[in-house]
């Protein structure tokens, strides 16, 4: 066991973690943040995307102890029904959600992009979400939603 301290969605935590625990398990099982989805478990699908110190990471490929001292944002920390984030609202308005499994990861990938580049081109949006697989939407409405969110956020 190892003791680590980290900040998740604005809240500080000190947690005991097993050495072989992944960040996704810490978030889902220790903190109950089930908006972090497990898909392929090998870093290909992006369903488990979270933002770690401003960078998107696949939380299935990060060990929990590697998160020591870091600041993590999951979909739960971005917004909720009462206090919805403009990217989430844009996904709803455009109809960018179908089964919803990729949606938390997609929205966080979009957030990380727009934080760094507030005015991305369509090509840059597509590239930013290319690590997040979606089987339902064909991506077009997701791209439109991010494009719309960028206008609202600017």
């Amino acid at each position: 066991m190892k003791k680590i301290s980290l900040n998740v969605n604005g809240k500080d935590h000190i947690l005991e973690v097993e050495e072989d625990m992944r960040l996704i398990d810490l978030l889902r099982e220790k903190l109950g943040l089930t908006g972090v989805k497990e898909g392929c478990s090998e870093g290909e699908c992006g369903a488990c995307t979270v933002i770690m110190d401003g960078e998107v990471v696949n939380s299935c490929l990060v060990m929990a102890f590697q998160a020591e001292g870091s600041s993590i944002l999951t979909i739960e920390g971005l917004g909720d029904e009462e206090n919805i984030h403009p990217i989430q609202q844009a996904f709803i308005d455009v109809g960018a959600v179908q089964c919803g499994y990729c949606t938390p990861g997609m929205i966080l990938a979009a957030k990380a992009l727009l934080d760094k580049n507030p005015n991305p081109t369509e090509e840059e949006i597509r590239e930013a979400i290319s690590g997040n697989l979606c089987r339902c939407t064909g991506y077009n409405k997701i791209v439109q939603a991010i494009d719309r969110a960028k206008e609202v956020l600017r």
């Binding site: 179908q98 597509r126 290319s130 339902c136 064909g138 791209v143």
Partner: protein, 334 residues
């Protein structure tokens, strides 16, 4: 060398289980507290938008806002069976069951209103915006909320059932009417083939889909985009790599599906030609949106380089090999 080609694909596709197989959807409608209406149906939402479209069909039939419909599904304790979310059948089959159930419910409300309002008959009664009223004397009116309060709370309900009509094909002759209704579509693509690397890049795509009636155009577009992307993967990338019955490409690092970088904005044309047996004319389009894309892409490859591909997926290796064989055959003919 890079070569450009264009191709189209057309398809028609039957809704439902078909071939005379019993295809049944059932729905239940109940008056709830506050004058809301509950629709209970075992039709699964898997992201295709069934929950939205079926709620809209209920709201349309009862002429009330969708916000006042409580749609409950996927809990077999509380609802009748509406069959599988498969065969592109929920909008048509379950939509019809909900329409029938709502019509039965409407008649029940009229009958109860007649009693409570001490009227002679149900003629002239209208059901709209959460109330039942006499069309030519609207002062005679009863709201859903009042009716709920007068009832023994929760006992005002009606059911509806829809059984699709298909005819089994005769084994000997192959004659019959195995499906009804059908949806029709057309897809056109323009692509570029790199004859050196075998890479195919879609430059432009147009997709026209007959939906009978688009109950929710946003969702129809989502299905068209999704169907196109899934077909794109099926035609160009996705390979299980079966060896002696074993799937070798058993993970996403080996089994490649399209990313946002592989898809493109497609021109979508929704064709509305209401189907007389369908709920408000609407037909299901979940599966059909995938079908014409393959032929369109293969025809465009043929148009670009004159090579007919007969095995999917058209991976770069396969395409380069096919081009080389084609060149060799041409050489032999000369």
């Amino acid at each position: 060398m890079k070569k450009i080609g264009r191709g189209i694909g057309l398809s028609f596709y039957g809704t439902g289980y078909g071939n005379g197989f019993p295809d049944v959807s059932k729905a239940r409608v109940r008056l709830l507290e506050g004058g809301k209406v509950g629709i209970y149906v075992g039709g699964t939402e898997v992201g295709q938008g069934a929950k939205t479209v079926l709620t809209q069909i209920g709201a349309e039939t009862l002429k009330m806002p969708v916000e006042d419909i409580v749609f409950v599904h996927e809990d077999t304790v509380h609802m009748p069976d509406a069959g599988t979310a498969a065969a592109s059948r929920q909008t048509y089959n379950t939509g019809n069951a909900i329409r029938v159930a709502c019509e039965n419910f409407r008649n029940k409300l009229k009958e109860l209103a007649r009693e409570h309002l001490a009227l002679n008959s149900i003629y002239g009664l209208k059901v709209e915006n959460g109330k039942i009223y006499l069309d030519f004397f609207p002062q005679k009116s009863l709201s859903f909320e009042e009716l709920f309060e007068k009832s023994s709370k929760g006992d005002i309900e009606a059911e509806g059932e829809f059984v699709a009509q298909t005819v089994m094909m005769e084994e000997e002759t192959g004659q019959g009417a195995p499906y009804w209704p059908y949806t029709f579509n057309a897809c056109g693509v323009e692509l570029e083939v790199d004859t050196l690397t075998g890479l195919v890049e879609i430059r432009k795509a147009v997709f026209a889909q007959d939906v009978g009636r688009a109950i929710n155009p946003h969702l129809v577009e989502g299905q068209m985009d999704g169907g196109f992307a899934m077909a794109l993967g099926y035609v160009l990338f996705e390979d299980l790599n079966l060896k002696e019955g074993k799937i070798n490409n058993n993970k996403f690092s080996k089994y490649l599906i399209p990313t946002a970088m592989d898809t493109l904005e497609i021109e979508k044309i929704i064709v509305e030609d209401p189907e007389s047996t369908a709920p408000y004319g609407a037909k299901g389009i979940g599966e059909p949106t995938m079908i014409p894309v393959g032929p369109a892409i293969l025809n465009a490859i043929y148009d670009a380089i004159g090579v007919r591909i007969t095995e999917l997926p058209v991976t770069p290796e396969r395409l380069v090999k096919a081009i080389q064989e084609h060149e060799k055959e041409k050489g032999e003919v000369k």
